[in-house]
């Protein structure tokens, strides 16, 4: 097999907790995000006087536990929270230092990585649009700088202030010149405003203009579907991680609202939510399109749009990844490591090769890197 690129489309960094306090524009300094202490005396991420419901009770460092056992995590992060955010960063040089990241990638045989946030997954829906915009500028500038140490290996996933569509468009435009990049799209839309609604059109137009796909990624945003049955479970947990209905709902809302029709060059990436539900949901959406399409806005069967304009990422150990590539076409599948979060496993490329081994070599190459190379123009 000839050498082809191996590209992780969804890795993470761990932000320095004082990033915003040190770098935000002066008028927002008093309100800047920082790692504070909650009422229980344990670490809590705080923004504009409010505590985060997910990064709370001293468990933030759960996002730095790649390679740890469940037992270790239970003891040191949850039962007796004794690992601070900064200690979690210390444990994972690859998540805080570009040289160390590239060294880790060399070891793991990864050629290129697109880097998503960690703390940044929680504040995408910061209420005040101006403050949200300021947060994003600080973060994006820092991340672009981080990646610039190895411009042919590391690529930033930009965060937008999704609180307000105009602020989001502004930041998308501001970062247009930074070179190849990805852009994160919250799993559930802020204000529970469907991505199919006209409200978001200026943003989809700008994505289309820049030939850039938003990537649906697990994060805060609007009302999580998991909260319907367990409003009391907001922390990192089996329940929250096992329910990925938000991404599925958001994905379907693009078809309900006819976004792919209004924007004929609009593309969409779906990350970190498993794979096999995608052929199932496309099939169901098509089937129900035959039953009652007059109550939705897409002109064609949903799978038609996905065939050329949708992508989904698989985890290396996903035993249905190869099947999904067969069902959707290998052109549609990317892969992601998720380092250093708790649900990632070391040795991803070795695992990925095994998982994909039953596919033809051409298809393996597409999933391992060629698709990402084209999609994000990483050359």
């Amino acid at each position: 097999m000839s050498k082809s690129p191996i590209i992780d489309v969804d890795g993470h960094i761990l932000e320095p907790s004082d990033l915003w306090v040190n770098n935000i524009e002066p008028e927002f300094r008093d309100r800047a995000m920082h790692m504070g202490v909650g009422e229980d005396g344990l670490e809590q991420w705080q923004s504009d006087g409010e505590g985060d419901v997910f990064l709370n009770h001293g468990t933030s460092a759960n996002m730095a536990t790649v390679g740890r056992t469940k037992e270790w995590r239970q003891k040191n992060i949850f039962e007796n929270p004794s690992v601070t955010w900064e200690e979690g960063r210390e444990m994972n040089p690859g998540a805080r230092d570009p040289d160390a990241r590239v060294a880790l990638m060399d070891e793991e045989e990864i050629d290129k990585s697109i880097l998503y946030p960690s703390l940044g997954l929680s504040w995408v829906a910061t209420k005040d649009p101006a403050l949200a915009g300021a947060y994003c500028r600080v973060y994006n500038d820092w991340l672009v700088d981080f990646c610039s140490a190895h411009p042919d290996r590391l690529y930033p996933a930009i965060i937008l202030p999704w609180t307000d569509v105009n602020e989001a468009v502004k930041e998308l435009k501001r970062t247009a010149g930074v070179g190849p990049r990805a852009v994160m799209c919250p799993a559930s839309p802020p204000h529970d405003r469907s991505y199919g609604s006209r409200y978001w059109d200026p943003l989809w137009a700008e994505f289309q203009e820049q030939d850039m796909p938003p990537a649906l990624h697990v994060s805060a945003g609007g009302t999580p579907s998991s909260s319907l049955l367990y409003p009391d479970i907001t922390m990192p947990s089996w329940w929250v991680f096992s329910t990925s209905q938000d991404i599925q709902l958001s994905f379907m809302s693009f078809f309900q609202g006819g976004v792919f029709d209004r924007f004929p060059d609009f593309k969409l990436v779906v990350l970190e939510s498993g794979t096999l539900w995608m052929p199932y949901i496309l099939d169901r959406m098509d089937e129900k399109f035959e039953v009652i399409s007059f109550t939705m806005e897409s002109k064609e069967e949903p799978s038609t749009y996905f065939k050329t304009r949708g992508w989904i990422s698989m985890e290396p150990e996903d035993e249905y990844g190869a099947l999904t590539a067969e069902l959707l076409g290998a052109d549609r599948v990317l892969w992601a490591y998720d380092y250093p979060h708790s649900d990632s496993w070391t040795g991803p490329v070795k695992t990925l090769k095994e998982t994909l081994s039953k596919l033809p070599e051409d298809d393996q190459r597409k999933v391992m890197g060629e698709n990402a190379l084209d999609l994000y123009k990483l050359n």
């Binding site: 049955l229 096992s242 539900w277 199932y280 949901i281 129900k288 399109f289 039953v291 109550t295």
Partner: protein, 380 residues
């Protein structure tokens, strides 16, 4: 070789307009469900004088439109409102006349059918609990009478007043002499009270006591996931049909979060009408998360282990993922359902099912076509 039995685990009836008027206890007669007229002057079903949102605006008859293409339905039902509930009944005699149902089953080669309600899927939404329970009693008595005229081939799915646990248990006990039956659980629980919570223990205990499986079936009692993004859709819609399975998934996962299968190792759960290809994926995801964060859920073991002994799922006969689901979950875990006469049921179910089963051993075919259902529900 033994003859293949074909048991449809999820068919529907269409309620005659006077069902509740005739069957409900007299003191509730004034408030009984009936065919009515809404504020816009269009036909609706109402209960306690209030239209039922999903069956209003002159579109209730969509539930009776199997075999009609969407242009026809759009024009005649949604635009012109020209098909009344009575017309819908006329179009589908097997949905409300037992002998016609059996005749249709003969034609379609179906040996047995479990019959779920249509309008009755909303009974747990009735706010007044006494009224809800009275409607359930009336419906269950009616469907019991209906099935008793089916020559032993029709089996009722009883519906419970899930809004009140004690009343639900009482109705389960009251109907225990009905013979083989199914029990429907709404795929969104009342008050958004997760099925994993201890509140439901008395219901699970009684189901186990009667050795009865419970079916998660589309039919909302609580908040739907789809309504988070589109609260304005209350009539039948594409959005409603594609997001319904999200509710089934969420409710299904909640059984593991709450450790229900640990507390009730003999409880059996059937997932209906939600597609099936997501199940192997969801089990894999839940198992993986068990390795990562299992200590935050109440289940002791990997969810797939409970599934092996305590859960089943139904496929549509024309589901292209049917064979995959059988291979992944095992033929002993898969049932099939026709969904007659709802608009998204496809016709010729047994012909389609035979095609789905082509590549399997005779034993596997017999399990899916009928033997699983026979065993699960204790049929003769």
């Amino acid at each position: 070789m033994a003859k293949m039995l074909f048991v449809d685990v999820d068919g529907h009836i269409l309620e005659p307009a006077n069902l509740w008027l005739e069957y409900i206890e007299p003191r509730f007669a004034d408030r009984a469900m009936r065919v009515d007229t809404d504020l816009a002057g269009l036909e609706c079903w109402s209960v306690d004088g209030k239209p039922i949102p999903f069956f209003s605006s002159g579109t209730a008859a969509d539930a009776a439109s199997i075999g009609k293409d969407q242009q026809w339905r759009r024009e005649n039902i949604y635009d012109k409102h020209e098909v009344s509930w009575e017309d819908g009944l006329e179009m589908n005699p097997p949905a409300w006349l037992p002998d016609k149902r059996v005749g249709m089953m003969d034609q379609e080669e179906i040996d047995g059918s479990f019959l779920y309600p249509s309008i009755g899927l909303t009974l747990s939404r009735i706010e007044d609990r006494d009224l809800s329970a009275a409607h359930c009693r009336a419906y269950n008595n009616w469907i019991h009478d209906f099935c008793s005229e089916g020559g032993g081939r029709l089996f009722p799915a009883v519906t419970l007043p899930w809004g009140d646990v004690q009343m639900a248990v009482a109705e389960l006990k009251r109907t225990s002499g009905f013979g083989p039956r199914a029990v429907q659980a709404p795929n969104t629980p009342p008050d958004d009270m997760s099925y994993g919570r201890l509140r439901w223990n008395p219901v699970w205990a009684e189901l186990v006591n009667q050795d009865l499986p419970v079916s998660l079936h589309v039919g909302n009692a609580g908040t739907t996931t789809g309504s988070i993004l589109y609260p304005e859709f209350t009539l039948p819609s594409w959005w409603d049909l594609v997001t319904g399975p999200m509710d089934s998934m969420l409710s299904f996962v909640s059984f593991f979060q709450g450790g229900v299968f640990d507390r009730f190792p003999k409880l059996r759960v059937v997932v209906l009408e939600s597609g099936a290809a997501w199940m192997p994926w969801l089990l894999m995801r839940m198992d993986e998360m068990q390795e990562v964060m299992g200590f935050t859920a109440e289940s002791k073991r990997r969810p797939s282990e409970y599934f092996e002994s305590q859960c089943w799922i139904s496929v549509d006969p024309d589901d292209e993922f049917g064979p995959f689901v059988m291979e992944e979950l095992g033929a002993d875990k898969v049932l099939w359902a026709y969904d007659y006469p709802h608009s998204d049921g496809s016709t010729e179910p047994v012909k389609n099912l035979r095609k789905m089963l082509q590549g399997f051993t005779p034993r596997e075919r017999r399990l899916v076509s009928g033997e699983n259902a026979v065993r699960l529900y204790g049929l003769e």
